[in-house]
Amino acid sequence: MSFQLHRVSLVHPNGQRALSGVSFAAQPGERIAVIGSSGAGKTTLLRLLASALRPTDGSVEVLGMRPWQISAGKLRRLRSRIGMVHQAPPLPPRQRVITAILAGRLGVWPWWRSLLSLLYPADIAGAREELARLELSDRLFDRCDGLSGGQLQRVGVARVLYQKPEVILADEPVSSMDPALADYTINQLVTEATTRGVTLVASLHAVDLALRWFPRIVGLKAGEIAFDLPPVRVTEQALRDLYASESGPLPLHGEEPFVLPTRALGRDAGRRKSSCS
């Protein structure tokens, strides 16, 4: 079991209820897209899985450990095995791209290596390799404040690829990219998850990207799981219900007319039984 949420609820300190009674589990190597309108609880769900938020109710288990019942040292090591791609990459504007990527391994590096790496980058080849996968290797030594929003998001992805975590969480990782680049970047995340057999959970506002790349789609509505299905079984009606609060057409990343897929996309998409709750 890669992670398991059991009847998890979360109420933010300001009293706002973000999740209620969510049960959700994944095997190692699963690729899951979480979709839903803004405010549905997608970010909260990912931050719970990242052990960055503590549930108000229910239990969380990640990589075989209960993050809120282990010692501080174990929790820190657990967190270093989980990678999070943020929607707004939290990178200091004055930091160079290479430093931002190398920071992915701070959780496992000994302190002297983190310190020395500020004097001379510890692993230029490694950082460059991950950045090259996102076609951005020419910006390796540039400062983050010289990059566009989409480029910054790709640096954020490169940092997590460099971290080599056992669970990759991605919170709207391509929201600032154009359709072609978004598709390409999701492809890189999916490739990483497939080749290393790690779990990938991505929240996506755009329905087309989710259905194209992920063999399991979780629809989140008002803090509850509305459906949990392989893409072939996601009906147009289910999507309309999911985005009922948003007027207008379904949110898509691409501009071409959107057709629901009629066949299984991934190897394991058709095999899994749906667990609609």
């Binding site: 820190r76 967190r79 270093s80 999070m84 939290p90 430093t99 701070l106």
Partner: protein, 278 residues
């Protein structure tokens, strides 16, 4: 009528609070001015102006004999050495204390996780330690240390390390908390230790401000070491004390000029460093 008002535009809900704060500030400040006997008119009283003019007239011409200039240079160097050593020691004292009280570097606050109560208690203890360190003026520490260590710069260095350690620690922590804390938070959430989160998450944003504040404190340390010279802790201050006691205005003027040059130097260094880090 009521309906009309509501439609027009909503009122700023904070306006009343701002107005109250302003009135309270004036009410509090006025008696303080009276207690401080603040009355600028006294400055321009004819008799007082004459006294000041006589005092200032003693300053010209500045003493420029080679022998005295050599003495001033030696003392200036001593003052620089006191200030620099003092601020370096203060930095060593301040950094661990600042790290301990910076909330944005707290791992246990995420969640909150294990050790929250211990960490909160530790922050409170260190915060009051910082207050104690900077609460006693460096001049008082210098008087104490001159008794213990005898006349000379060592007393001033120790006094600076203590008082300025407290000041630097407090302000470093405040600078670290007022910069964007999201990068450090993200690093802590992916298992980074506190020190690494500081170096990779907070310092890139905070470094220019921290450097400029530290250099400014170095400038203050130069001034403070002059003051401490008056109580026998060496440097330009001790020289100025002797000149004043002998009513030698020219020598005082020379010392003040050298002193202004030192402050100019600090300013130039600060500007240069800030430009490098921008």
């Amino acid at each position: 009528m009521l309906l009309n008002q509501a439609v027009a535009h909503p009122r700023d809900p904070d306006a009343r609070r701002r107005a109250t704060a302003l009135v309270v500030a004036i009410i509090v400040m006025w008696p303080l001015l009276v207690i401080a006997q603040f009355n600028p008119a006294i400055l321009f009283d004819a008799k007082n102006l004459a006294t000041m003019a006589a005092f200032l007239r003693g300053f010209v011409p500045p003493a420029l004999s080679a022998e005295f200039l050599g003495l001033v240079m030696k003392s200036a160097l001593e003052t620089l050495a006191i200030a620099t050593t003092g601020i370096t020691l203060a930095f060593v004292v301040a950094v661990p204390l600042a790290l301990a009280v910076t909330r944005s570097l707290s791992i246990s606050r995420i969640g909150p996780g294990p050790g929250l109560w211990r960490a909160t208690a530790l922050r409170a203890v260190v915060r009051s330690l910082l207050t104690i360190l900077r609460g006693v003026p460096e001049l008082v520490w210098a008087l104490v240390f001159v008794r213990v260590l005898g006349l000379g710069p060592a007393a001033a260095v120790l006094a600076l390390a203590i008082t300025y350690g407290g000041m630097l620690g407090k302000v470093y922590a405040e600078i670290l908390e007022s910069t964007d804390t999201a990068p450090a938070r993200a690093l802590l959430e992916s298992g980074s230790p506190q020190g690494a989160a500081l170096l990779y998450g907070l310092l890139p944003n905070a470094a220019p401000e921290i450097v400029s504040y530290s250099v400014y404190r170095w400038e203050c340390a130069i001034r403070a070491s002059v003051m401490m010279g008056f109580v026998g802790a060496g440097g330009l201050g001790q020289l100025m004390d002797q000149a004043m006691k002998l009513l030698n205005g020219g020598e005082v003027a020379t010392i003040l000029i050298v002193f202004l040059l030192l402050v100019q130097l600090a300013d130039a260094i600060s500007a240069h460093l800030r430009k490098q880090l921008a």
